[in-house]
Each structure stands twice: as C-alpha cells, then as structure tokens.
C-alpha cells in the first residue's frame, strides 16, 4: 500500500499539474506549488475521495504545506477508522 505521503503527492500533482517527484513535504501549496484558491478547494475534495474521509473544510483549508496535509489526513483517517499506511 502506498503511504499517505505518496498518495497526497499524487493527488496534488494531478490537481496542480506538477510532477509528484518534485513535491516535498516542506512545500507550501500556494507559494511553492502555485495552487490558486479554487484549486485549494479542489484539493480538499480530491483528498476526501482518495482517502474515503470527510474533512472539516475550514480546518482543511488552513493547512499550508504538503507535510501538514499528510499529518492532518493521517489524523482524520485514524479518527474515522480508515486504514492507511503512514
């Protein structure tokens, strides 16, 4: 099973048109990866579909970096009983 981080990078790469291999945990979605505000909302929706979870939109949109997104999604998966490879 791919790790949460790998899956986050794949989804991010798809939504933002970026090679997942170039994405680092410390990258900011907006500053380093060029996410527009509408894409931030798309990312939240895409993560929910990818992981089968529901996220609080305000909390999710407050996440700034790829690494923080990985941590946040892992936490939500644990809370909602979704098995993931961390």
């Amino acid at each position: 099973m791919a790790t949460v981080e790998d899956r986050v990078k794949v989804v991010t790469g798809r939504i933002l048109g970026v090679d997942p291999g170039e994405i680092r945990p410390e990258h900011s979605f907006t500053f380093d990866l060029g996410a527009e505000s509408v894409q931030s909302i798309e990312l939240v929706a895409a993560f929910e579909v990818e992981f089968g979870i529901e996220m609080d939109e305000d909390e999710a949109l407050a996440v700034e970096t790829v690494g923080s997104a990985v941590e946040f999604i892992a936490k939500v998966c644990r809370e909602q009983g979704v098995e993931v490879e961390e």
């Binding site: 970026v18 907006t30 500053f31 380093d32 060029g34 509408v38």
Partner: protein, 721 residues
C-alpha cells in the same frame, strides 16, 4: 520626520534616487503569485501592467508555469536572472513573509503587497503584519500595503498600472492617495466620466510600511503633480502628518492638499474624566488641526474633485472677486447668494466694462454683476459678456451659468468659452444646469479642462476652497514661543504625585508655577483652620472640597460660595464634610481649599490632553457647567504661538464674548492667549499629565482685576521607572 524605514532614508539607489522611485519608476517589476486564470486579482494585476504600456520589464512569478499570457514565468523571484526593482505580491497572506524574504534575498527595492488578511482581520493578522514589517525593515525594502489596490503612475516615463483597477486613468496633474482600496475604484470611474486625469494614484491599504506622510513628501517633489487628494480612515502619526502638510502646502513649490477623513472615533467609547477628554473626539481634533496645517478637509468625493479640478486646471485667482454671467436671473441670484455667503466678492464693474456690455447686449439685459444676458442669448452674447468681465480689473474669476432654453446653442456656447479660456489669465468655471440637453456641452468643457459643476452653488464652494488655499499661503509663518515658567516648582509637585487626579491645591500650584492667573488660596483640614484661612485671605470666601477621588465637586455639594464671615465658613465646612461623607463613604477627603470670591466675568474653558494621533492637544472655548452641552470649542496641537492662540479665541463664539458684547468692556484676551500658550508648554514639559481642565477661567477686563482660574483638574499617568 518620515516613516519610511530608517534604512531607506539613507539608502542611495542608482543616481541618488528616492526610495519610492522604485515604486513609481521601476525599471523592472515582478508580479509574485500570478495565476493563469483571468478575472482573478493576481492575473488582472499582471495583465494591467502588461496592457498599460509599462516602459520597463515585467516578470511573472508563478510556480510550475512555463509562462503567463506568453510571458516567460519563474518559479521564485530569486530565479529571475535580472535585477528586480519592484515586486507586486499577490500571494495569500500566510505565505507573504516567505515571498518578502526572497525579495530581500534578491535585492528588490520596493514591494506592493496587495494581499489581504493582515491587521484588518484581527490579532492573528496583526502578528502577520508585524512579521512582514520586520522583514522589509531588515532588508531596507519600501512596502506599500498590505491590503491595498495597488499603485498607478501615468507619467509616460513609466506608465505603470500595478493595481487591479479596471482601467488605466487618463494622465493629469492630480495625485490621489487613499487608505481605502474599494473607494479607489469608484473614484477612478467617477474621474473617467469627468475627464479628470491623475499623475499618481496610490492605494496604501494598512500602511504597514509606507504611509501617507512618505507619499505626501514624495508627491511634493513630483513634477507631474500639482494638487494632492487624500482619503484617510485613521491618523496614526498626526504630528508627522501636520509637519509634512505645512511643508507641502506653503513656501516654494507649494501644492494644496485636500482631504477626506472618515469619522471613525476610537476615542468615542473612551470613558473620559475631563471635559476636554469627553469633547476631544478624534474627528473634532483632526478638523481643527487640519485647518491649521494647510489641509483642506472636505466631506465628499464630489467636493474633493470640485476643488481639485479648479486648482489643477485653472490659474490661481489673485483675489476673491467673481463675475457671474448667466442667461437666467434666478440661478444668477442663487449663485450670488452662495458666493457672498462663502466669502467671495460679487462687486461692480468699472465704467469701461459696463460700456462694453451695454454695446454688446440687448437693452433688457442686466449689465451689473451678475450679468444677465437673458434667456434667448446665444453664443455671441456669452462670448462678448465673458470677454468683457474677464478684462475688468475688479474681477478675479468668472462663473458662467447656462440654462437650456429652446434657442440656446449649448455646444457653441461651450466652444466659445473654451476659445476665451485659451487666452484668459483668470480662472473660468461653468455651470450648465440640467442633464440630458447640456450633456454634450459639458463634455466639451471637461475635455478642455474647464471645471464644470451641475449647480452654481457647487462652483462657488470650489472657488471658496481655492480662496482658502490662497489665504493659507499668505498667512505669516507661525513659530511657537516659549514663555518663562518655573519648571522646578511644578516638577517638585508633579514628580512626587501618584497617578490619578491631583488634589486641587496642588493643581493650582502647578498652574501658578507656569504663570497662569491663580488667585491666592490656602488649604485647611479643620473647621477652625478654614476660618483662620478665610480671615487671612479675606471675605467673602469660598470653600472647595479637596479630594483625589472627586473630580466634579459641584455635583456633591463640594463648593460653597460667597461666605460672608466666620460663622458662614463654619456652617459651610460642616455641611460640606457631612455631604461628602454621605455621598462618598469610600473616599477620604483631604480637606478644603479656601480662597476669595472671584468677581463674575466670562467663563471660558482651557483644556489639554494627549491625543493618540496628535500628541499634546489644547482646547479652548465656552466654559462653565454646560461646556459639554454647547460644545463651542476648538483645538490646536501644542506647542502654539500667541498668534495661534489668538486664532483659537476667534474661532469660537465664546471669543466674541471676550471681545465685549452690548457695551461690555473686553476681557483680558491677551492674558487668555498667553495662558493657552503656557498650558501647551506645561503639557510638553511633563509627560505624566494625561488630561487637564481649567474650567472655568473667569475672563475679565484688566482694569477689573484681569483673569482668574476658578477651577482646575489635572490627571496624571503612572510615573515611569
């Protein structure tokens, strides 16, 4: 004093340029955080710069984008191979600090931070704003914003539209500075409709870096700008604003400043103990101080431009005399009423002019001022009348009024005015009254930069504003003077006093040390002491309760007047202390102050307080018990000169009382003026004084004994360690 970062005031860029030249005349601009989606702020700013004809080089910074609108894009500003003078930051607020750190690394000289989400959203945003201020200060970067619309420079040497306004405005001679971005877009649209052009247009948002003080200084030296318009929501450094305004509006290269300030009064909710504190809302203080700094305050955007276009596009009149030319009697009279009411002169013509008018107008026309060319007038009569009145030496400016009758050739009249204007040395303003029929004539006038106003009264307002500009420039230079005072005696009391209200006897002693007219007084702690004091000072006597905790003594019977003998003093003392014990069982009286009765006179209030924006501020006006009811007061920033004090006295209705009404002799006005100057000195010398009221000062003629302080309140801050 400039609020541009200290590093910037010493910074010498290429050719010794001003730090803000990188904002207005950058050779290269990077738009950081651009996105490829039209109708978004980041994209629209980028397109605006591209489409406005910017003379420099433009670089979009957009991670993982090869280009934006065919212009090669870079991932980070540090990736740009060439120097970057100006960066326009459009990232979300949470990453602006990263962008600025990179700008610092890159050697960017100035930034415009468009992004919102800073101080205006609350404490978290305020912290973010503090952080970006620090980064800019560290790297010596001039920052406009954050939370702003951007900057526009119409100078052909730059042609920069680094904003998300819909269109580049026409070039003109008016500089516009605004704290509100939303207002800017409305102003630009309004101006376009009236063919008003701008030299520079700046929305400075939260003014975390560059403030209106820096921008006024810059526009003062800008050879493209003749008049400066300012919209402010808050004044943070009022002293610096006043200093720069005085410099900009007078002396060589003087330029008028017209300002709108929205009436946000954070002090309004403040619990003020003193009369001065409760009357000195920031708006009232700003109003008075603006007048004395050369800033003309107006109440609407319309009024702002009404005066600006007249100043910018017409010569300065040499005096206040107006000639009115109208084809309708009613509007002519209305205009005359308005003009005279606003201090303009509507006088007669010399014989030569009257003869010219008689020769070119029909017998039914009125050839006196206002000249009525009558309802069936066409352009020939208007041209002749206008030319004749402008040549009259008793006329400084002309107002042309037109009402659209069936035979009125509106366009031809407009063209005639334009032709006369081309060789005129005196200003011409117009009022073509109406809307649909006169529209094309108005457009012609506006295109020719002849000021037009829908109503003649508005034209008169604009002319009156220009008169104020002229009169301000002719005022002599005003230098505050220091009068001799006993600073040590005041310090001995103030330095030892705890925070809070000073007991009245100590407050009087402080005033006496600073030369205010304080009548003789003594303090007593018992009934017999009070009698002994009264015997010494003389009857009739006055007892006043002394307590640190009671400010308004009258309300609890803490004042007893006109005590004729010892028995009266004993009775008054007993009653006063009993009433005090009942009303304020928690407070400890210190005793009573004993003095003589002060003969009646005019009651005025002299006050002082520390305004958050302007620092030490003085107040003068009608005093007594009902000072807050009548609010007949004015303000000035300390220190003041005697001349300024004189103007304060004249500015209020109470001043007329002092000059003598209905045969009454005048009060010691010079003494009142001097007391105001001395209070200003007191407040500047002792920073612990937060508020001070002398209410009332009894103003009387010199031969009747002169002025006397009847009551005083001083509130102190904690002593600094």
């Amino acid at each position: 004093m400039t609020t541009v970062a200290p590093e910037l005031t010493d910074k010498v860029t290429d050719g010794g340029a001003h730090p803000l030249d990188a904002v207005f005349y950058p050779q290269s601009v990077a738009v950081c955080g651009v996105v490829p989606t039209p109708d978004t702020v980041p994209y629209d700013i980028f397109r605006n710069i591209l489409d406005s004809g910017f003379t420099g080089t433009l670089y979009p910074v957009a991670p993982f984008k090869r280009n934006i609108h065919s212009v090669r894009a870079y991932r980070y500003v540090v990736d740009i191979p060439d120097p970057v003078d100006l960066a326009v930051i459009v990232y979300p607020a949470n990453v602006v600090d990263k962008a600025l750190a990179q700008c610092g690394q890159k050697g960017v000289k100035a930034v415009i931070v468009i992004s919102a989400g800073f101080r205006e959203v609350g404490p978290k945003g305020a912290l973010r704003e503090q952080r970006i201020k620090e980064i800019c200060a560290e790297h010596g970067i001039a920052m406009i914003g954050p939370n702003c619309l951007g900057v526009i420079n119409t100078d052909p040497k730059s042609r920069l539209n680094a904003s998300f306004a819909r269109k580049m405005p026409e070039a003109g001679r008016i500089g516009f500075l605004s704290q509100s971005g939303a207002l800017c877009t409305a102003v630009l649209d309004f101006a376009r409709d009236k063919a008003i052009g701008f030299s520079k247009f700046v929305s400075f948002g939260n003014k975390a870096g560059v403030t209106e003080v820096d921008l006024l200084t810059y526009l003062h030296e800008d050879d493209q700008t003749d008049v400066i318009l300012l919209y402010l929501e808050e004044i943070t450094d009022g002293r610096a604003l006043v200093e720069v305004a005085r410099r900009v509006t007078r002396g060589p290269n003087a330029k008028p400043i017209l300002a709108m300030k929205s009436g946000r009064t954070p002090q309004g909710a403040r619990a003020a103990a003193s009369h001065t504190g409760s009357l000195a809302g920031q708006d009232a203080v700003a109003d008075a101080i603006f007048r004395e700094s050369g800033i003309l305050r107006v109440d609407s955007i319309e009024e702002l431009f009404d005066a600006a276009i007249l100043y910018a596009y017409q010569p300065m009149p040499e005096g206040n005399r107006v000639a009115i030319v109208t084809n309708a009697g009613g509007p002519g009279v209305m205009a005359t009423d308005a003009a005279v009411g606003l201090g303009l002169g509507v006088g007669g013509f010399e014989q030569n002019t009257s003869e010219k008018l008689k020769a070119s107008l029909p017998a039914a026309a009125n050839i006196k001022n206002p000249v009525d060319v009558i309802g069936d007038a066409r352009s020939d009569r208007y041209n002749a009348a206008l030319a004749a009145v402008l040549e009259d030496p008793n006329v400084d400016q002309a107002l042309v009024i037109l009402t659209p009758q069936s035979m009125t050739d509106i366009d031809a009249i407009a063209e005639g005015i334009i032709e006369v204007h081309e060789s005129a040395t005196k200003p011409i303003v117009c009022s073509f009254m109406g809307a649909a029929d006169v529209a094309s004539g108005i457009q012609k006038l506006q295109r020719a930069h002849i000021p037009h106003y829908i109503l003649p009264e508005w034209a008169c307002h604009a002319m009156a504003q220009v008169q104020r500009i002229r009169q301000w420039r002719e005022l002599p230079e005003d230098r505050p003077e220091a009068l001799p005072v006993d600073r040590e005696a005041a310090a001995a009391i103030l330095d030892a006093a705890p925070a809070g209200h000073l007991p009245e006897d100590q407050a009087l002693a402080v005033l006496k040390a600073y030369g205010l007219p304080v009548p003789a007084f003594l303090r007593a702690c018992s009934e017999e002491e009070a009698v002994a004091c009264a015997e010494e000072i003389g009857y009739p006597a006055v007892l006043r309760l002394v307590s640190r905790e009671v400010v308004h003594k009258t309300e609890i019977g803490g004042v007893a007047l006109d005590l004729a003998d010892a028995d009266a003093v004993r009775l008054a003392f007993g009653r006063m202390t009993a009433r005090f014990a009942e009303a304020r069982p928690d407070a400890e009286p210190v005793g009573v102050l004993v003095r003589g009765m002060i003969a009646s006179g005019n009651e005025v209030i002299l006050g002082a307080e520390r305004d958050p924006a302007f620092g030490p501020v003085l107040m003068f006006g009608l005093g007594g018990l009902y000072v807050e009811l009548f609010r007949d007061v004015t303000f000035a920033m300390a220190p003041i000169s005697l001349a300024r004090a004189r103007r304060m006295v004249r500015d209020v209705k109470a001043g007329k009382l002092l000059y003598g009404l209905r045969g009454q002799p005048p009060s010691d006005i010079a003494g009142v003026e001097e007391s105001l100057v001395r209070l200003g000195q007191l407040l500047l010398d002792f920073h612990r004084i937060l508020e001070l009221d002398v209410n009332p000062l009894i103003a009387r003629p010199v031969e009747a004994g002169g002025n006397a302080v009847a009551d005083v309140g001083i509130r102190l801050a904690e002593a600094q360690a």
